[in-house]
């Protein structure tokens, strides 16, 4: 499959999962915890797909400081940090996932609950910036892989069907 298409599909899944996870009232606590775990796995795939870019920019970070890719890198790093904070605190205050694995944590400070909310809110903000910095790519590929195929589908349907014509010999 085309790498752009793969990236777009993974990103759409990530975005949808993120919206669901950041609205725990929609799913209830149990589903919120399990979908969050699935989101972590999807983020791992997302990171894996962009690993070469990450390594390249990390190695060149201090060579040319003021460049869009550096800003991108910085936002991505902050986003990953906030997401890690939300994940760790989420695991520590988890009630269903840990119980499923037979783990019960006692005396977890309330600070983790506070940290979970703050990092989750920060993640939404950083997700917005992350999307905005890739806006052109998103629009271009959405048009290419969703709008254009739909347009072509309708064009094909509107075209008159070719019917066999019998030609009589004189």
């Amino acid at each position: 499959m085309n790498p752009n298409k793969t990236n777009l599909i993974v990103d759409i899944i990530l975005f949808t999962a993120y919206l669901i996870v950041s609205s725990p009232a929609l799913t209830g606590n149990t589903l919120h915890e399990w979908i969050s775990l699935a989101l972590i796995a999807t983020i791992l795939i997302h990171l894996l797909l962009h690993w070469q870019w990450l390594v390249k920019i990390t190695l060149e970070f201090f060579k040319k400081m003021f460049h869009t890719s550096r800003l991108n890198w910085l936002i991505n790093f902050l986003f990953f940090t906030a997401f890690t904070g939300a994940t760790v605190s989420g695991i520590l205050i988890s009630k269903d996932v840990l119980a499923f694995f037979g783990i019960q944590l006692t005396n977890v400070p309330r600070t983790w609950e506070f940290l979970h909310r703050q990092t989750a809110d920060l993640s939404v903000l950083l997700l917005g910036i992350h999307i905005a910095l890739h806006w052109k790519w998103i629009l271009h590929n959405l048009h290419r892989y969703t709008v254009l195929p739909l347009k072509n589908l309708f064009k094909r349907q509107l075209r008159p069907a070719v019917q066999p014509v019998q030609v009589r010999e004189k």
Partner: protein, 119 residues
């Protein structure tokens, strides 16, 4: 299969960064008081607002006091869709502002580089 060692190494690198950041958070919670004020004072602690006090006339009846955050554990389509809509509005505003800023910067006249040399 040829890429498997490379993928495993990448996973290990991601896990390493994850572990470092986690260590940072755990250290900050255990050894600093950066987050204590917020956790105790209710700053950003939306779930605790509106919960009646534990004693006195406004206390919960016996057996009905919710565990912390319990009133957010049950799913509610209305509240959930409200949260989704709220997040979508937040994201739209952020994306809109940044895309407009980028557009504005791209319209700025570029610095001229072909300055003729003085005779």
């Amino acid at each position: 299969m040829k890429n498997l060692p490379k993928i495993l190494m990448t996973f290990a690198a991601i896990a390493g960064i994850f572990a470092l950041i986690t260590f940072g958070f755990v250290w900050a919670v255990d050894n600093t008081q950066w987050f204590d004020a917020g956790a105790e004072g209710g700053f950003g602690n939306r779930e605790r607002r509106g919960i009646p006090q534990e004693t006195g006339s406004a206390a919960f009846p016996e057996g009905f006091r919710p565990e912390r955050g319990e009133h957010h554990e049950e799913a509610s389509i209305t509240r959930g869709l409200g949260q989704v809509l709220g997040n979508l509005i937040k994201l739209t505003i952020i994306i809109g502002v940044i895309v407009l800023l980028q557009y504005g910067f791209s319209r700025l006249p570029r610095r001229r580089t072909n300055i003729p040399a003085t005779p």
